[in-house]
Structures are given as C-alpha cells and as structure tokens.
C-alpha cells in the first residue's frame, strides 16, 4: 500500500486517523465563535456538533478518503456518492484535507485537490482542476496550505499552490499561485446604481 506523504502525516491511512481528524474538526467548530465557546466542550455539545451537516459531510469524506488510501476505492466512491446525495457536496475521495477543517455550508461545494490543516471552505466554493474532472484527479487540482480560507462563491482552478494563511474573499476566480499570508479580492464585484428598477420589474 503506497500512502502519500500528506496522508501519512495526517494518519489518513489509519482508522484512528478518522477519529482524531474528526475530533479536531469538532473542536474547531466548538471554538469558532464566542457563542460556541460558551456552550462548552462536553459530550452533549460534541455530539450535537457532530450531527450538523458540515461535520457529517466531512466525516463521510474522511471515511471515503480512508477507504481510498487503503485501496478500497469502490467502497470509497460509493460513500462519496452517498455524501453527494445527502449533502450535495462533491468532495472526491482522492482529495486530501488536513485536520480541523470547516465547510460551513456543504450544499453545492466542490473540492478536488489537497488542503492542509485548519482550512475553511465557505458556501458554494469550487476548488478543482481546470476543465472537467473525475473522481481520481486531485493531483490536477489546487494545493491549499495551512489555515487557508476560501470565501463563498469563489473558484480556485488548476494545479495551483496557495500558500499558508491565504484568505480568498467572496467571488474570486483565482488561477495563479499566491504567496504566504495575502488577501485576494475580486476587482469587479462592487455594484453601482444603474437606474430605476420600476420599469425593469414591470416589463
């Protein structure tokens, strides 16, 4: 069994890696805001967090990735398709996502690439190879470093290197590498008043 370096570092090839990575995902969720921190870190709050769609989606992905790394790729793909049907999120089983990840709104999410620790991928983001991709094309997709945040409605396409602590804001199409700790913003998302809406709505 050949295991990639990143997967070995995150123990994706071991069953206990699923539990430790999921535990870190839950811990990240429980510490994301003052309200969540105020709820405490007991068994009840952990179970309540685990049953949220974002953590269920990540858990199903982690099990699918474990099966993929172990060589049971048919089972991995079945689980990925169940994940798609239940959460409408397309995270390919070959993709490698580090611990303490967050996908706050999984519906419509597409991820086919690799990501480090503490990555946050917001609603309807797409990280994938440039062009149509299959279930085994993560090596053509972007590589996100640690603590990267991909904002909502953003698109990261192609085999890019997104360095650690990069923040990609809302509605960005990123198709080139970024250095460490930068903020990427779109140039054309700012709206301006174009005229009266009455005639348009009545047409």
């Amino acid at each position: 069994m050949k295991v990639a370096t990143e997967c070995r570092a995150y123990q994706h090839h071991k069953l206990r890696g699923i539990w430790s990575n999921t535990g870190k995902d839950i811990l990240r969720f429980l510490t994301k805001s003052p309200e969540n921190r105020a709820a405490g870190d007991g068994l009840k709050t952990r179970l309540s967090a685990f049953l949220r769609p974002e953590l269920q989606c990540l858990f199903l992905y982690r099990v699918a990735h474990y099966l993929h790394v172990r060589g049971w790729w048919r089972a991995a793909i079945v689980l990925t398709r169940i994940n798609f049907l239940v959460h409408k999120a397309n995270i390919t089983p070959e993709s490698c996502i580090g611990p303490a990840a967050r996908v706050p709104h999984p519906a419509g999410l597409t991820f086919c690439g690799r990501a480090g620790r503490g990555v946050t991928i917001f609603a309807l983001s797409t990280c994938c190879p440039s062009g149509p991709f299959g279930e085994n094309s993560a090596h053509e997709g972007p590589v996100l470093g640690d603590d990267v945040m991909v904002g909502g409605h953003s698109v990261v396409v192609g085999p890019l290197q997104i360095a650690d602590s990069t923040k990609i804001s809302f509605g960005v199409r990123l198709a080139r590498d970024t250095p460490r700790g930068v903020l990427v913003v779109a140039r054309t998302m700012r709206g301006k008043a174009l005229g009266q809406s009455q005639a348009l709505l009545n047409s």
Partner: protein, 188 residues
C-alpha cells in the same frame, strides 16, 4: 417554441453520446473507466433530463415534470424539460445547477454554471423568449452564466465568474480580470 417530437431511438442516441463523452472526459485523467458510471450523479442528471425532455417533446408535460422533479430531488440539478441540448452534454457537478437554453453538441457545464433568462429582455433568438442559444463545443467554467437572449458561437470558453449578456463570436475566451492580491494586516 415549437419542438420536434423525439423518438426513443433519437433520445437513446443522445444518451449514448452523452455517456461516451462522459467516459472520455474521465479517461483524460486516468486510463480507466469510472466505477459504475451510470450511477454517477453527473450522468444521472443528464439521463433524467433526456427522459423528461423526451416526454415534454412528446406532449406528456406532466410526466416530463415528474422526471424533472426526480432529477431535482436526486441530484439537485434544475434542468428545465423544454431546454434543448445537443448530444454530448456533460455536467460535472449537478448540485445547484439551473439551466434553461438551447445548445449545440458537446456542451460542458462545470459546477454551478447557469444558463437562462434575465429580467427585462424577452426577445426570442431561437430558444424561447429571453433565453440564450449556444453553439457547439462550448465550455462553461464554474460560476459563470449566459443570461438573456444572446447567441454564443462555437468553441467558446467562458471563464469562471463571468456573466455573458451580449453575443459572443466563435472561438473566443470570455473572462473577468484577475483578482487583486493584497498584503494582509494582522487585523484583517
């Protein structure tokens, strides 16, 4: 828009062409077929669209609407039953997709791209009031849209996050400018 009735043979021909193109695109990355390709959400969404389109063109609008609902519930794709797409249609990730247009063959739709009308423009360029017409071999990247009664030529690539609201000639790449990269302060 008056549609020609499709025979089952014609519908099956389109489904086979969709399937072949779906397999080709998968084999581009790995020299092996995807596992159970007919159960892949991408293919299921296209297949269910073809079934609903077949019934719609045959005049069975309620049955067409039923299959549209099945497609919507199962894959999250809203592909209107009157939409007319040529053979070789590939939808990479159907969840959240909303499309209504007319196109030639080999249309590729990446995640969350959209085709349809917009408020205020109701001209008919061949796909119905206010809807776009696309040529052959058009590729729509994630989060782009072709909106309103516009004509898009053959072999056009529409880059991510681009809204096309005017006619596009053949062999063109349409896109928005690159994002701005800023040094981040600690407080951001």
């Amino acid at each position: 828009v008056p549609f020609d009735r499709l025979t089952w043979r014609q519908t099956l021909f389109r489904v086979r062409a969709d399937y072949r193109r779906f397999i080709e695109l998968h084999m581009r990355f790995r020299q092996r077929k995807p596992i159970a390709p007919v159960l892949h959400p991408s293919f299921i969404s296209v297949f269910l669209y073809r079934v609903s389109n077949h019934f719609y063109r045959g005049g069975h609008k309620y049955i067409a609407r039923f299959w549209w609902h099945v497609n919507h519930q199962l894959t999250g794709a809203d592909i209107s039953e009157p939409a007319d797409f040529g053979e070789g249609l590939v939808i990479v990730n159907p969840a959240g997709m909303s499309i209504m247009a007319k196109s030639g063959r080999n249309l590729t739709l990446m995640p969350l791209s959209g085709l349809g009308g917009e408020l205020g423009r109701r001209e008919d360029v061949g796909a119905g009031p206010g809807l776009p017409v696309l040529g052959d071999d058009v590729v729509l990247e994630p989060f782009c849209g072709v909106l309103g009664p516009v004509r898009v030529g053959n072999r056009v690539v529409i880059r991510a996050l681009t809204a096309v609201t005017k006619d596009v000639p053949d062999d063109t790449i349409i896109g928005v400018s690159d994002p701005k990269i800023l040094e981040r302060r600690e407080s951001v």
